[in-house]
Amino acid sequence: MLGGVVWNIGDWNRIYVQGGGGILVATKRRRDLRRPFAAVLFFLFGLLVVPALGSGPPPDAEYIGAETCMDCHDDVGEAFWNTTHGHLLKSSGKYSENLCESCHGPGSAHVEEGDAELILNPTNKGERSEDMCLSCHSDGTFMEWRFSSHAMGDIGCTDCHEAHVPAGQILKKSTPELCYDCHQNVRADFFLPSHHPVAEGKLGCESCHPIHGGENQWVMGQDKRELCFTCHPSKEGPFVFEHDPVNEECSICHQPHGSIADNLLVQSEPTLCLNCHSMHFHASIPGIESDGFTSPQDPSRTLSSTHDGFKEAMLTKCTQCHTQVHGSDLPSQSISGGGTSLTR
């Protein structure tokens, strides 16, 4: 990164210069570069919200109206009315009457006692606070939230989301950094030599994972491969000459997050292939080290052996000859082999 300028056009007085230098050794997230002020705002917002932790209003509490809330929380309110939640509260008949208290519950006890414990706050983990979110976010996507791995792990909506911020900034961090906070081993995987381009920002965790639960169990037993074929349709077939593991599950041979082996393989070739194909003829033949010998089919051709010999040539990568490892419509050469060798 050499440097650059961020110009927040909506706020004309905020022009600043970022600088730096050096060799890029890891992919940078450019979205983050443009949002330093958002981070500051999140922090200041957090300072406002954290002291308001509470267990909720008592049953006899009454609604007091948004104007009363604004007497103390005007700093939140001014910005909030221009957020997605703010617009929805004002425009929706269902919520326009109670506004702030639509989510935070009746506030009379909170106002009278001045006790932060007496108002619902989404930062409180617990069934009641999630009810607030799920009362609106109740479509098919969120219906199974309570049974998601995140929910069972005591991860609540506000662990990842902010409610009082403009649309598009509802995540506390951009992904995948937000996910990496907990899934650090996955972050390490994405920096292995072969990986899906998540670190490069071309894919996100949500490209494959149903963050809010449910969808994994909607995938049929025989359709596990469908997720992969969405982007890699050339591997689906049907092929005249099949490779059996391709018909079962991609993860038999591939590790989706990252791998030290090429092409996201769970092991390097030929070890991976030898798990099933326990031998290959010629492989046990000793080879030679030589700087040159003549090919029998073309005496004028000069070849050089750059490796230890025949054994190494045959025990490096099976896919150098068996190029169509996912399947092929063209037969290989041998009649007695039935053309099944997946070499063309």
Partner: protein, 574 residues
């Protein structure tokens, strides 16, 4: 930097929209513009480390523009960025009340392919004297191009229109196109006379299009969804042909006719290394119903995938799933799941030419066969899982399941040899906030009659049992072929998997993670052989992230794999 006319037009359109928004009361409009530069340089291993990075070795300008506008009824989010002519994106998100929404995303990146795939493929056997001799393997690059890479363009769009508030009915239409263009290495293998590989540089011009159309409805805790999908895959690049050497004896170059008569083709140009042409229709119906204590959901699916290059070759899948989730207590969950499906893939009659046609004892027309698909099956699965949260940091789980796979009309198998798998898994997860985490699991799988490919798998010793048939000693060859493919499988009858995984954060910048995966499997139910695999993979890694823009990751993984099975020496050499 080159921006297309469409891109510029789109930006101007949304700028105009934004200006119009800005004039409205209660409108919120924010824009930001990033102008900067970047520089990448790799001194080594760029194809590995920089698989998805366009290496420039020169400073390059970069820029990003973000616009967000919102009124009570309209929401617009435009996000576009480029860092070079191979990396860019363009996202638009538009909503009008809750009546209409539209998302359009464009993503461009470059994928570096590997170095010359065949650079090591020059070698020759060693004679007893130690000199070079016998069979050899050679590689010939027919094109000088070695800079293999392609650009990947992805355009996704989704449109959703609300039809009925009462039933929460939405019409959804979506499209996804992936276009990949560039250059790749194509390879052919001439098997006889010596192993001779040749490679060419070939155009990458792959297109995938998928269209989804459907309806979704949500009312009174009942959610239903129907989706029709149509997907095609095409390669518009010209086919690449290779010359396949005339078959001859692999050492002395003689007996051309004899060796040629054992092959489907030789001594000519043939198309190789092609992509399939496929299309797929699918219909999927989903439903969910329940409340915050229990959910019943299910799917029904029918799909047909066709190979457009081969007549009557398709895959039909019909089936469904049912899931039941129940909250037993605030800290206990029960999951029950079942699936049943049938997959039908056509058999293909493959008429092979006579083996050693015209040769002594030849003209054996015995290699014709039906290609049976391993996709063909009736599949059933059922499992039950219980999860309990011991405290806010710790969860434990126990899963028990059964899986049944029956392959109809699969050669060598009968209904009695269908595979039955019984499996169980238990895990414990511990997480202390973002400070540390630990995961430990154990899985056991017991399988009777694991899948066996009807064409066999192994080579096995057997030459001593051969007798000349049909009066021709050459028949030894296919007899050996027949013997070496045994009706056995490497799939295990019992498998243990143990996994340990942990992370620890020293502070918000430095963390480390470690894992150990251990698996042991065995199949000792086979008649002649015993298969055993052992795998152990400890891993230790450390991450240092001084700020969100920089990340340093180091790690060490040790891989230990041990396989025990039948291995024979090369059949050509007896």
């Amino acid at each position: 930097m080159r921006l297309s006319g469409k891109t510029i037009l789109s930006v101007l359109t949304f700028l105009a929209l934004t200006v119009s928004l800005a004039g409205r009361a209660n409108a919120e409009v924010k824009m930001s513009l990033w102008l900067g530069g970047n520089y990448t340089d790799y001194s080594d291993y760029e194809r590995k480390v920089g698989e998805f990075t366009h290496v420039k070795n020169d400073p390059y300008p970069e820029g990003a523009f973000h616009l967000r506008g919102m009124t009570e009824n309209v929401y617009i989010d435009l996000n576009t960025a480029f860092s070079d002519n191979k990396n860019g994106k363009f996202d638009i998100d538009y909503k009008f009340k809750d009546r209409f929404s539209m998302k359009v995303n464009y993503q461009l990146f470059e994928r570096q392919l590997q170095f010359d795939l065949l650079e090591n493929m020059n070698a020759r056997e060693m004679l007893e004297s130690g000199a070079a001799g016998g069979k050899m393997i050679s590689h010939e690059a027919l094109d000088s191009v070695s800079d293999y890479k392609y650009d990947s363009h992805t355009i996704e769009s989704e449109f959703k229109v609300k039809i009925s508030d009462k039933y929460g009915l939405n019409f959804v239409a979506a499209h996804k196109m992936i276009m990949q263009k560039g250059t790749e290495q194509k390879i052919s293998t001439t098997h006889c006379f010596s192993c001779h590989l040749s490679s060419r540089s070939a155009e990458v011009n792959r297109w995938s299009n998928q269209v989804n159309v459907g309806l979704e409805a949500n009312r009174s805790n009942v959610y239903v969804d129907y989706k029709f999908s149509y997907r095609t895959f095409r390669s518009n690049a010209d086919d690449v042909s290779f010359y396949y050497d005339a078959a001859r004896h692999p050492v002395n170059g003689g007996s051309a006719g004899e060796f040629s008569s054992r092959l489907l083709f030789d001594d000519g140009y043939y198309v190789g290394d092609i992509y399939p042409r496929t299309e797929k229709f699918s219909n999927k119906f989903k439903f969910k119903t329940g409340n915050d204590k229990r959910i019943l959901s299910g799917t029904f699916n029918y799909s047909k995938t066709m190979n457009d290059a081969v007549e009557d070759l398709d895959i039909v899948v019909v089936g469904g799933t049912v899931n039941y989730k129940m909250l037993l207590s605030p800290k206990m969950w029960l999951f029950a799941s079942g699936a049943l499906s049938k997959t039908i893939s056509n058999d293909i009659r493959y008429d092979m030419p006579a083996w050693r046609e015209g040769g002594t004892g030849g003209d054996l027309d015995i290699f014709d066969y039906y290609r049976a698909s391993s996709l063909d099956r009736l599949y059933g699965r059922g499992d039950v899982q219980g999860i309990m949260r011991l405290n806010s940091d710790t969860r434990v789980s126990l899963l028990l399941g059964y899986e049944h796979t029956r392959r109809y009309d699969y050669p060598g198998l009968t209904s009695e040899t269908a595979s039955n798998k019984y499996y169980g898994e238990s895990w414990v997860r511990y997480r202390n906030g973002l400070k540390s985490s630990l995961y430990a699991s154990y899985r056991l799988e017991l399988t009777d009659e694991p899948f066996t490919n009807y064409r066999g798998l192994f080579e096995a010793l057997g030459r001593g049992e051969l007798t000349a048939e049909n009066g021709a000693p050459q028949i030894y060859y296919y007899q050996r072929e027949d013997l070496k493919y045994q009706n056995v499988t490497t799939l295990p009858t019992i498998e243990h998997e143990i996994e340990l995984r942990g992370t620890y954060s020293f502070n918000n910048r430095v963390s480390m993670n470690g894992s150990l995966k251990l698996s042991m499997d065995k199949n000792n139910d086979l008649d002649n052989v015993e298969i055993e695999h052992t795998s152990m993979r400890p891993n230790l890694g450390i991450n240092y992230m001084p700020n969100p823009r920089w990340s340093f990751t180091g790690g060490y993984t040790y891989v230990y794999d041990k396989s025990r099975g039948p291995i024979t020496i090369a059949m050509f050499d007896g």
